[in-house]
Point group: C2
Chain length 275, copies 2
Amino acid sequence: MSQPSITEVRARFIAQPGEPFDLSARDSGDRALFEDKDDTKDGLTEDGKAIDQLQNLLYANGKRSVLVVLQGMDTAGKSGTIKSVFAYTTPLGMQVKAFKAPSKEELAHDYLWRVHQAVPKRGKIGIFDRSHYEDVLVVKVREFAPAEDIEQRYEQINQFEKHLVENGTVVLKFMLHVGYEEQGIRLRQRLMEGHKYWKFNPQDLEDRKLWPQFMSAYETMVQRCSTEHAPWYVIPSDSRKRRNAAIARIVRGALEELDLEWPLQLHHPDDFDIG
Amino acid sequence: MSQPSITEVRARFIAQPGEPFDLSARDSGDRALFEDKDDTKDGLTEDGKAIDQLQNLLYANGKRSVLVVLQGMDTAGKSGTIKSVFAYTTPLGMQVKAFKAPSKEELAHDYLWRVHQAVPKRGKIGIFDRSHYEDVLVVKVREFAPAEDIEQRYEQINQFEKHLVENGTVVLKFMLHVGYEEQGIRLRQRLMEGHKYWKFNPQDLEDRKLWPQFMSAYETMVQRCSTEHAPWYVIPSDSRKRRNAAIARIVRGALEELDLEWPLQLHHPDDFDIG
């Protein structure tokens, strides 16, 4: 089985902090690292099992946590990524938060208030299905907040994430980059298939009409919030399997890099009267 | 592949509401329904995949939720059950809550306060790893609350669960019944194996010394809180595979019985200008 190295995957998909970012130079159909379908599938399975083991270690160690942020246009595959990359991880080891339109209570606070509440505990992998980045995406495109407020948010978000990182959380951010054509195909599928129809929301078509504005907001987001402490990875997402495989490689790599140790065995059964 | 029917599994393990319950008559090593190991394993896989599909339907339908309550002595396999029975269920579809010793904030409220906050949203399967039943188990055995308070709790819990059921939540309660000998074997394993050692807590040995008192508290709990709306199932748990297979059958059965429908397809791609 031939799988690209974690270093290769990172290097290809990272938005290099401090460098200009051009979204149009990123191909949502890129298959260069994952040419063979079967190898890709086998690699994903292997990485998924490794992530499960590494999450056990994360929990046993109890000092660090991992936050996976998923952003992407409708149908880009946020739910599918969660299901596939963490197929082998126990639900007990995860904290998944899907961010919807904010409630009145949430709107009565600053936009990071609800986000901070949802960050993962030590020992857990947290997943954000959408995130605080909606506050510089849909909020920007639809002008739900004044432009000058939004302008401040990029740096606020960078500082917030820096705080999390300095306090022991690894922050991994993935933009699921799906093409306009592929989104059209997937929206049609949702409308045609009985078991997918419920995912269809006419609002998605309204967002689709604003595709260029959304792409521009995404580009600015990546450009301004890809930092050394929490870089953005822009993942080609026209192929579901390759998208999942790329993300699994990067998640596994981040967990391995923590280089955690199992707690020392301080006792032996003979130390106790187990009966 | 031969698998016991859901009806058979329920009938064998239920604590019949309104009837006397004798825990000593339940064999923690019972294998009668799941004799063959391979059949048991295949059945669990099949049920796990069905539960995943049914959870999708639960979410799409959006009107009901399922709460799975797991109680058992240390090493009985609460974590293992979660990992195995929901191996195919997406983390997005679940809400897992592990109840630990209450915080000061939690102790400043009645004991169901933190429990009510953790019940699953519509569309989700919630798992309680320990639960409000700790308030009639460890709290009773260790006398953390006055006896007359604990005495009131059985009926309070029944009423609380009735409220949940009447409001659309299916409540499934499983006592993972592990034998004293088997617990001893598992505690020794934890102490011997580097990847399990972190699960060892000397407190578990203190609870083990009070085994008869705990068994008596479990017996009373099942007797008084196995109700028509939320019966207790007492699952033989000396064999992990059989325990998982039995619980998966019952969870699948409960989801199938909801008899949910996929939302109607009200639109066709041609209704829209998808572009």
